[in-house]
């Protein structure tokens, strides 16, 4: 490692921030967050199977202030990973590889995830909280 004469890739601290770099990092981060959130899906199904009292208890936890904040985070993580995941599937098919397209689709993923999150939470708040 120390005696290498090849040029090293630039360190993150001096690397110019670019949107397509952020979308890539955040895709991984939201993927990890959603993997943790999958345990909540298991918990929800187990509580639903266990009975009414158990399920209402689960709904109360989700509907608590901390629960709502976490659910908001997971909602956005889900929609971001969905939008950017579709973007990656399109790129895997070989489309959208020009740099301007790459940057534009990055912003599209971000905007799409925010719009969908707002729509879902507008519904949740109108329907009377998460529980």
């Amino acid at each position: 490692m120390a005696d290498t004469q090849r040029p090293l890739s630039p360190h993150l601290q001096i690397y110019k921030r670019q949107v397509q770099m952020m979308t890539s990092i955040v895709h991984r981060a939201t993927g990890i967050a959603l993997a943790v959130g999958s345990l909540l899906v298991v918990a929800g199904l187990m509580h639903l199977a266990a009975g009414e009292q158990s399920f209402n208890h689960f709904r109360a936890i989700i509907g608590s202030p901390i629960g709502m904040i976490l659910m908001l985070g997971w909602t956005w993580a889900f929609f971001y990973h969905l939008c950017n995941g579709i973007r990656h599937l399109v790129q895997d098919a070989g489309a959208g590889y020009e740099i301007p397209q790459f940057i534009r689709s990055s912003w599209l993923s971000i905007a799409g995830s925010i719009v969908l999150t707002v729509l879902v939470w507008a519904y949740v708040l109108m329907a009377g909280g998460a529980a």
């Binding site: 991984r28 993927g31 990890i32 959603l34 993997a35 999958s38 345990l39 899906v41 298991v42 929800g44 199904l45 187990m46 639903l48 199977a49 009414e52 399920f55 209402n56 709904r59 989700i62 889900f78 969905l82 995941g85 579709i86 990656h88 599937l89 895997d92 879902v120 519904y123 949740v124 329907a127 009377g128 998460a130 529980a131």
Partner: protein, 134 residues
């Protein structure tokens, strides 16, 4: 080591020595499975979110009866299995990229697989309990 040395030492062709190394194992299978589960999750995931939004706003008997309906139970099981499969594949890439100590890499990967299988089985069992008991 030149190709000649390899042949002299173990009487095998260089191709025999190289075969099965690097990405020639199951890399393409991993890549494809990750994409196919992703495509499935686009559909199943949107269905799941819409369903959950509805489930959280109805009373318990309605919610339980809805999950027990054949199509919903089927799609829920499909969603949960695909989700855990996709999660394991994704976390595997992250671990391979960032965890460079071999034993930690293996322990983490095995732990994640144990958790994912347990989570998937627990979810399927819960859905079956709901669907098969009146």
């Amino acid at each position: 080591m030149s190709a000649k040395d390899v042949v002299l030492k173990d009487r095998r062709t260089p191709l025999k020595t190289a075969r099965g190394l690097g990405s020639s194992q199951s890399g393409v299978g991993h890549w494809w499975t990750q994409r196919v589960t992703a495509a499935a999750l686009v559909l199943l995931g949107v269905w799941f979110v819409v369903t959950v939004l509805w489930l959280l706003h109805v009373d318990y008997p309605t919610a339980r009866a809805a999950v027990g309906r054949p199509w919903n139970a089927l799609l829920l099981i499909a969603f949960v299995l695909t989700m855990f499969w996709h999660a394991v594949l994704g976390l595997q890439v992250v671990i391979e990229d960032y965890v460079h100590i071999r034993w930690k890499e293996v322990v983490l990967m095995v732990a994640i697989k144990f958790l994912a299988v347990l989570g998937a089985l627990a979810s399927v069992l819960a859905v079956l309990r709901i669907a098969l008991t009146p």
